[in-house]
């Protein structure tokens, strides 16, 4: 193995050293800790002991040369049998591979140049304030933008005629503000998100732990409260016989492909959504936007909290493609490498609480979408089936599939039809 002999940093402030003399030659065998060379720095002169035993294959710095700390001075082949003296190469400071100077401590680098001293350029005096200029504060600027106000129409009562927040509020209350007329749906026409209700003051007993919310926790909390307050949720459940799905899984396992149940449900949902466009929608103000594309948001539990990456064009994907995409999300969620773009734009959501997901649950809609599916635990149960006109009891892997829909937008026929269709697709077992 070839190892480096580097210029040590002998002193916190030292950034470079001079090679005074080499005590060994290229090709020479050296012992561990044997002095290799003498160096001199601003603070100290020292002999540099060899980091390892072996053969000196390269000496990269000539006596008298000054090099930055951590610069490679020589190379030693620790397995002398493998070594051949290499041609001498001049050391070079390479910004690309060694990084820029600035890490003062142990990064190798040339001394940092002193910053230059510059004289301030002479600026022309600012122009005198023009009369009629409207003076406002940051909050007034924001309110004007929000309400589409012409500030010149609002008389200012603040110092120097400044338009204050109160002036704007008074103007809005007086009804003089022209309504923001617009044919298009304005995404910000939705009411401001209600603040999460303040918890009542709780007396703390000794040993109680107060865990402040992380930013992601706060976002989840706000979102959940807002969704429950915005949408009247209707929850419906289907009992799905997963034995054909299990069969497909077993078959693909033999082919070396491990599939979980989730991709099947995503596949079935995407197909059913294509047939039930009302469920693949978002709400904007007082309009429903039926989305052309089917982008399914799938909740993934990560160490940092709940993440919901979006599977774009899920209806165009094969089962294997869905499975691969989900594996990829899972891996990247763990390493925190999911980009914000991948977390937005969903048109429908699926949540899978996993093997400990219990019998069924009532999911909360991911706003501004209008529907969400939730997988329950898959459990083998005795079920009655009818075959050839005869009832019999068989053991089947069964799953309760929960669905929530927004009753502002979806009525019972569409909502129930959708879930029924998902069940049909799963039970039919055709995923080609």
């Amino acid at each position: 193995m070839l190892i480096d002999v580097v210029m040590p940093q002998l002193g916190e402030s030292v950034v470079e050293g001079v090679v005074v003399k080499w005590l060994v030659e290229v090709g020479q065998l050296v012992a561990k800790d044997q002095p290799l060379l003498e160096i001199s720095t601003d603070k100290v002169d020292a002999e540099i002991p060899s980091p390892s035993g072996g053969r000196v294959t390269q000496i990269l710095v000539k006596p008298g040369e000054t090099v930055p700390i951590q610069a490679v001075l020589a190379k030693i082949e620790t397995d002398p049998a493998a070594s051949r003296p290499a041609a001498e190469a001049a050391p070079k400071w390479d910004e690309e591979t060694e990084g820029f100077p600035g890490h003062m401590a142990r990064t190798s680098g040339p001394p940092i140049p002193a910053p230059p001293r510059v004289e301030p350029s002479i600026l022309a005096p600012p122009p005198p304030p023009t009369t009629g200029r409207i003076r406002i504060t940051p909050v007034v600027a924001r309110m004007a933008a929000e309400h589409g106000l012409d500030l010149s129409k609002i008389p200012g009562t603040g110092i120097d005629g400044r338009v204050t927040r109160k002036d704007v509020e008074g103007y809005l209350d007086s009804g003089q503000a022209a309504p923001a007329v617009s044919g298009e749906v304005r995404p910000d026409a939705t009411p401001a998100p209600p603040k999460v209700a303040r918890a009542p003051k709780i007396a703390l007993a000794e040993g109680d732990q107060v865990v402040p919310w992380t930013p992601i926790r706060k976002k989840i909390a706000e979102h959940m409260v807002r969704s429950k307050q915005t949408s009247p949720h209707v929850h419906i459940f289907a009992e799905v016989d997963m034995h054909k799905v299990a069969g497909v899984r077993a078959k693909s396992k033999k082919e070396g492909v491990n599939l979980t149940y989730l991709p099947f449900v995503i596949y079935a949902a995407a197909k059913a959504l294509r047939e039930t466009p009302n469920m693949n929608a978002t709400v904007s103000g007082e309009s429903t936007v039926l989305k052309k594309d089917i982008h399914i948001a799938v909740a993934v539990d990560t160490e940092k909290g709940l993440l919901v990456p979006v599977l774009r064009h899920a209806d165009r994907m094969s089962l294997k493609e869905i499975s691969a995409a989900m594996d990829d999300f899972g891996a990247r969620a763990k390493s925190g490498k999911i980009s914000p773009d991948e977390l937005s734009g969903g048109t429908f959501s699926i949540t899978n609480p996993g093997i400990k997901g219990n019998l069924f649950g009532t999911p909360i809609i991911n706003q501004p979408q209008v529907g969400i599916l939730r997988l329950g635990q898959i459990v083998k149960r005795p079920v009655v089936i009818e075959a050839d006109g005869e009832d019999s009891i068989v053991i089947r892997p069964m799953m309760y599939l929960g669905c929530a829909y927004d009753h502002r937008v979806i009525d019972g026929v569409a909502g129930n039809g959708f879930l029924y269709r998902v069940r049909e697709i799963l039970e039919a077992g055709d995923f080609s």
């Binding site: 210029m7 800790d33 100290v44 002999e47 002991p49 732990q209 402040p212 930013p215």
Partner: protein, 325 residues
């Protein structure tokens, strides 16, 4: 003393020396960051004061007392990881060299304001006293630190309450570059003890027998409730203040003179006089201490480096995220 103890003391002297030497070499090989403050030449002081302590006694080493860490029970592996700035070090990489103490073994980590540990040691000794615990605190400081107000404040308080503390001045004649005559106007730092109402003693810090005898008496006195002692050990550091100090403020002659009084050589002469098989002992000890230090280096090398965000840990009992508030 028994042969077993004689050999054990020798082993400690040699282990410290090997650890110090290896640390110096690692520094020159560019493997260490920050300051390295070799205590090479002063081994008899730390061995003499720490060897016979109980595990529940406390020591307050100064920045050069790597040996005190080892003798008081710090794991050599973790000590090396500490010096490497790794996660397995006592400070988990948060501070360098001996600033991270090993509290489970009664070893307190010093700050860089030398002598600032003396009030801390006095405070701890106050607790031993009011709780009637027969434990002692050993506070090491350099003769340079003796000029600081903290040293006076601590000794004065210890004198008032007759606290179970031993103040150990390691006088190696130079505070960085400043010699004794520019540091204080008395002959010996220990002469000041009388001003605090307790005993001061001067001892040859390179003579392990002398150090152990004086240390034993001082520790006994403290443990029995007879109050503090100030012991001044005259000794010498072979290296500069740190590895990057040329130390050309002192003459070669002076260094050679002190090298001829080397604490390990003196102990070897003693072992020879006792007619032990010194050649065998030396060989066996060399093998043992080399192995221990090599294992420590390998452990430290392999210990994970802390990640950037770990800088925010261990600041408060319950983490406070100022940026998220």
């Amino acid at each position: 003393m028994t042969e077993q103890k004689d050999r054990e003391l020798y082993r400690w002297l040699r282990l410290i020396r090997e650890f110090e030497d290896r640390t110096s070499v690692l520094d020159k090989q560019g493997k260490l960051m920050g300051g390295v403050y070799s205590g090479k030449g002063q081994e008899a002081v730390t061995v003499g004061f720490c060897h016979d302590l109980r595990w529940d006694d406390w020591i307050f080493p100064l920045h050069r007392d790597l040996g005190a860490f080892l003798v008081k029970g710090a794991d050599p592996k973790r000590l090396m990881a500490q010096i490497f700035g790794k996660r397995d070090g006592f400070a988990k990489g948060k501070d360098s060299y001996l600033h991270g103490g090993d509290l489970a073994n009664g070893i307190f980590g010093a700050t860089s304001c030398l002598g600032a540990t003396l009030p801390v040691a006095a405070g701890m000794a106050y607790k031993f006293k009011i709780r009637k615990e027969d434990r002692v605190a050993i506070a090491f400081f350099g003769e340079g630190a003796s000029s600081r107000g903290d040293v006076h404040e601590a000794m004065n308080f210890a004198g008032v309450h007759r606290l179970p503390v031993v103040f150990v001045c390691e006088n190696n004649f130079y505070a960085y570059s400043t010699p004794n005559e520019l540091q204080f106007g008395v002959d010996n730092v220990a002469d000041r003890a009388v001003g605090y109402g307790f005993k001061g003693e001067v001892v040859n810090g390179n003579d392990l027998h002398a150090v152990m005898k004086t240390a034993g008496k001082a520790i006994d006195r403290a443990r029995k409730g007879d109050g503090p002692t100030l012991v001044e050990c005259k000794t010498y550091r072979y290296h500069g203040h740190s590895e990057h100090d040329r130390a050309d403020y002192r003459s070669e002659e002076e260094v050679i003179t002190w090298e001829s009084r080397d604490p390990i050589s003196l102990w070897e002469i003693y072992l020879e006089k006792r007619k032990y098989d010194i050649a065998a002992i030396r060989k066996e000890t060399t093998e043992e201490v080399t192995r221990i230090v090599e294992e420590a280096v390998a452990f430290a090398d392999g210990s994970p480096a802390p990640e950037g965000h770990e800088a925010m840990e261990d600041l408060y009992a319950m983490p406070i995220d100022m940026e998220a508030l």
